[in-house]
């Protein structure tokens, strides 16, 4: 019996190590290869002993710290992917230094050691219990492998039974979300220019462009658009964009006046705040060309907005997109009005 359990534990260790290696390769391909494959701006190539040796000489921890925090020489923090865990970064490093002499044989041994300890080291995301894993969430392929490693951990210690359905449900969930054309898979936004799809990766300056995720790291989040709440970012002074290009001290001319537009049907009425708009814009940007400054003089419809007119000149192009209905339709009608169908 004891022998059997040893055998099982060994098998799981192997599985965890294999999954770790898989994660590393997948992550490298998706995130790191942009620079590390070509060795651009001095990024050490995978397996390049000459380049890796001096780095590894300082110890694996130093290499990991540099990868996580970024370096002034050009390594973006976590390769520009703030959503990655340290363990995931580590797996990518392990993939790149595999076979380099002087690399800690750590690559495999460490991950195998790490696996049976409570999952914290393998994956920093919460609770790798079968229950949590069954929760359908958009999982990047790399995450899926990480999840397996995490899922393997508790079973190795005998805390939980092998979650048979885990692997299945994880990949099923990924499939389902792959078909959902509205819900973007995790990590699909704020990508660096090398992966943007519109920048030319063969252009020498493309890798030097700032990755959006790096600029946005300290800004309040939103669910759509740039995934940054620009209005809050400005209010909270996280950003301090100039009002005048030459005069850093010029202040915005803010007008605090809400315009309520009653709308048909049961949709909440629209409250248009001049305040937030005049923080960014000049009166002449909207008046009189887009909006006649007179109550009731402007016909606005969602159709026009979707086609890029009226509010749609900015909303749906650069300001928050029209998917965020309730940011504009924010004033609830009273029940009587709704019932009367007015």
């Amino acid at each position: 019996m004891k022998r059997v359990s040893h055998f099982a534990a060994l098998a799981l260790l192997f599985a965890a190590a294999a999954a770790h290696a898989q994660t590393g390769k997948a992550l490298y391909d998706k995130v790191c290869a942009g620079c590390h494959a070509t060795g651009i701006i001095g990024a050490p190539k995978p397996g390049d002993a000459e380049a890796w040796k001096p780095r590894l000489a300082k110890g694996m921890d130093a290499v990991l710290r540099n990868a996580v925090n970024g370096t002034p020489r050009g390594m973006p923090p976590k390769g520009g992917r703030a959503d990655l865990s340290e363990a995931q970064i580590r797996s990518a490093i392990d993939f790149m230094i595999a076979g380099v002499a002087g690399a800690p044989a750590a690559a495999r041994v460490d991950s195998a050691k790490a696996a049976p300890t409570p999952a914290a080291k393998v994956d920093t995301r919460p609770a790798p219990t079968p229950v949590a894993r069954a929760e359908p969430k958009p999982a990047a392929p790399a995450d899926a492998a990480g999840a397996t490693a995490a899922a393997a951990a508790p079973s190795a210690t005998g805390v939980a039974a092998v979650p048979r359905s885990t692997v299945g449900s994880e990949s099923d969930a990924a499939d389902v979300n792959a078909f959902n054309r509205l819900l973007k898979p995790g990590g699909g936004f704020n990508r660096p220019a090398m992966e943007s799809g519109i920048h030319d990766p063969t252009n020498d300056a493309t890798p030097t462009l700032q990755p959006p995720a790096r600029a946005f790291a300290a800004l309040p989040k939103s669910p759509a658009g740039n995934h940054v709440d620009w209005v809050k970012a400005l209010e909270s002074k996280r950003i301090d964009p100039r009002w005048d290009r030459n005069d850093a001290k010029a202040q915005a001319v803010v007008m605090d006046l809400n315009i309520v537009r009653e709308v048909k049907g049961s949709m909440p009425d629209v409250v248009y705040p001049h305040k937030q708009h005049t923080e960014w814009l000049d009166c002449s940007n909207c008046h009189p060309a887009l909006f006649v400054p007179q109550k009731g003089a402007n016909q606005i419809s969602m159709a026009a907005i979707l086609l890029g007119q009226k509010c749609g000149v900015c909303h749906g192009r650069v300001a928050f997109p029209v998917s965020e209905c309730r940011l504009c339709h924010s004033k609830k009608k009273d029940a009587a009005t709704v019932a009367a169908g007015k």
């Binding site: 692997v167 462009l209 740039n226 964009p241 814009l281």
Partner: protein, 136 residues
């Protein structure tokens, strides 16, 4: 037991590879990135990518769209290098004084060849025209 686990890992590995190979999601550029290809390609340069997000961290909309006269329309400003060097449009800041100067061609001219003028991820783009697929 061991075999089953290995098979499972193998299956997952294969799945990963398939997902990587068939990862044909559309362009993932930043919301509001503007590609301008009025004259660039005809003149033998890559089209321009203007990152709205980068600029709005530094300047309010009004600076460009009121003070400098940028129209609210991708490609609607007929910008060329002569105007920029003359201090109009981009050249109002990109003059080596407020921001880096025009000799850094490829920082702007960085789009994939064949990308048409458009605002990336704009509603109009999604509804009215198919997503622009750059020619390879």
């Amino acid at each position: 037991m061991k075999l089953a686990t290995r098979a499972r890992v193998l299956a997952l590995g294969v799945l990963l590879m398939v997902m990587i190979v068939f990862d044909s999601r559309p362009a993932r550029a930043e919301y509001g990135d503007v590609v301008i290809n009025n004259y660039s390609e005809a003149a033998g340069m890559r089209p321009v990518v203007f990152p709205h997000w980068f600029h709005r961290v530094r300047f309010r909309c009004k600076v460009c769209h009121a003070d400098l006269g940028f129209q609210f329309k991708a490609g609607g400003n007929q910008i060329n290098m002569v105007k920029i060097i003359d201090g109009q449009f981009c050249g109002a800041c990109h003059n080596g004084d407020l921001a880096w100067s025009v000799e850094n061609c490829n920082l702007c001219h960085s789009a994939k060849p064949g990308t048409p003028t458009h605002v990336h991820e704009s509603t109009v783009n999604k509804l009215a025209a198919p997503a622009p697929a750059p020619k390879r």
